[in-house]
Amino acid sequence: MSERPSNPSRHDPSRRKLITTGLAAAAGVAGLGVAARLAQKYGLVPPDHGGIYGLGETLTYASQRLLTRHSLAREFSRSQISERPFPNEIEPPTDEFKRLQAGRFAEWRLSVNGMVARPASFSLDQLKSYPSHTQITMLQCEEGWSYIAEWIGVPLSQVLDVVGILPQARYVVYFSIEPDTWESIDMADALHPQTFLTYGMNGDELPVGHGGPLRLRLPRQVGYKNVKFLTHLTVTDSMKGFGKGLGGASPEFGYAWYAGI
């Protein structure tokens, strides 16, 4: 620290400073390298870690994953359920959706494949045959608005148990019947007890406006990760090979893959 006029009697401070700075820089680079390798090993690097916002995205994902791996989203009392849940804008339904809707979704299927022992396809009745769970949690849109609702469904982990995920599985990729609508989550979120395949809301069927007949409910991440009209899941160890490899349609559109914030 010699921004003040330096003391001429000191022994060559510039040289010492140069050596110290050099050593500190080398230690810093080595430290970053080790940190990056450790982060990769413990699954703390998100698929969209490249690019100019990769640093912030990685710090957010890594720190929240360390802090919130098992924590539960806040649950509310029945009296706090919003009287007016806002169903965000949805695209006009496809012909396929209209056909299934006309048949009261009896032919709706959720297929599961990828790194699973027993690939399968589930009807809504099959999903409803598992013990149903409820949660009263908040849906928060990244825009800033929110509502609280009771969500009824089966934990995703239950279905993953049935198909048997392989040990190398790292992500669950989920697809909507809407074209180009897909996202993914890591296994911590996939196996989290509040991650639901949701078919009911506030004591009733899940309305189409809210993603009925089947929506992924992920209360620890904001709205856009809660994909509506779910038809397909793939279990994988890498996001490479899915679109641009960023982990979902949202990151390809410029939005963060991890949306716990």
Binding site: M1, E3, R4, P5, Y53, L55, G56, E57, L59, T60, Q64, L67, T68, S71, L72, A73, R74, F76, Q80, S82, R84, P85, F86, N88, E89, M138, Q140, C141, E142, E143, G144, W145, S146, Y147, I148, P219, R220, Q221, V222, F253, G254, Y255, A256, G260, I261
Partner: protein
């Protein structure tokens, strides 16, 4: 430690031509990183705000519920009932990425500043009011001086005056922690681990509204700060914060 620069702050001892360091390297570097992040946070914050320029109190609020207040601007989303027929372009993708990245950089920078302050004596020497200033009398004199737009004395080129110290302390120890807290209180994942962070604020929408008001307070501080720098001598103050140098005799501006 208390050599030339500190001695100079007792006005009588100002040497005529000595050029000494006004701000340490650490203060200067953290100051400008903070400035850069502040603008990034402000721009991206406004960007995020225009997707839903409505505010609520409590846990929830949306287009179908009454507001606490609205900002009378068009929104970047079609369904928000703003009263305008115009929909602004949506930039929340990079807006959110930039907001959180700048938040990380400024929080880490702030931590570095805060930790170093404990060891460098910056807090006691530059920020906490001196013993003689710790009275209501000193406070009212400082206010009166400011209201009369009294030019800063030579000594003030070398140390912060009482009101300056109090506002910096308020920003560092009240507004910055509050803006970080209210920001984190909006994160569904963070509050799953630390629910009290949002519960004591009265709910997630309350946290959002408070985040907005604390940000406004920070913008107000920025305006006054830049205004005072201008008033005190823009070139010499900028030079001091960039190069660290403040020629004691050159308070001409």
């Amino acid at each position: 430690m208390s050599d030339s620069a500190y001695a100079a702050s007792s006005a009588s001892a100002v040497p005529i031509t000595t050029v000494t360091s006004r701000h340490s390297v650490l203060v200067r570097v953290t100051h400008w990183i903070t400035t850069l992040c502040f603008f990034a946070l402000l721009v991206s914050g406004i960007e995020i705000l225009i997707s839903h320029p409505r505010f609520y109190w409590g846990e929830t609020g949306n287009d179908l519920t009454p507001t606490l207040f609205k900002i009378p601007i068009p929104a970047s989303r079609r369904l928000v009932p703003t009263g305008y027929n115009y929909v602004m372009p949506d930039a929340n993708g990079w807006g959110r990425y930039l907001h959180f990245q700048s938040a990380w950089v400024v929080v880490l920078t702030g931590l570095l500043y805060a930790i170093s302050m404990l060891f460098s004596g910056h807090l006691q020497k530059d920020l906490l009011p001196g013993k003689s200033d710790r009275s209501w009398r000193a406070f009212s004199i400082a206010i009166a001086d400011h209201l009369r737009f009294k030019r800063p004395s030579q000594a003030e080129a070398w140390s912060y005056n009482l009101l300056q110290r109090l506002s910096y302390l308020f920003v560092i120890f009240v507004l910055f922690p509050l803006v970080i807290w209210t920001g984190l209180a909006m994160s569904p994942a963070f509050v799953s681990a630390v629910p009290a962070a949002v519960n004591v604020l009265g709910g997630q929408q309350s946290a959002r509204t408070l985040h907005f008001f604390v940000s406004l307070a920070l913008v107000l501080f920025l305006l006054v700060h830049v205004g005072m720098v201008w008033f005190a001598g823009f070139r010499s103050r900028m030079r001091a914060m960039i190069t660290g140098r403040a020629a004691a005799h050159s308070e001409r501006t």
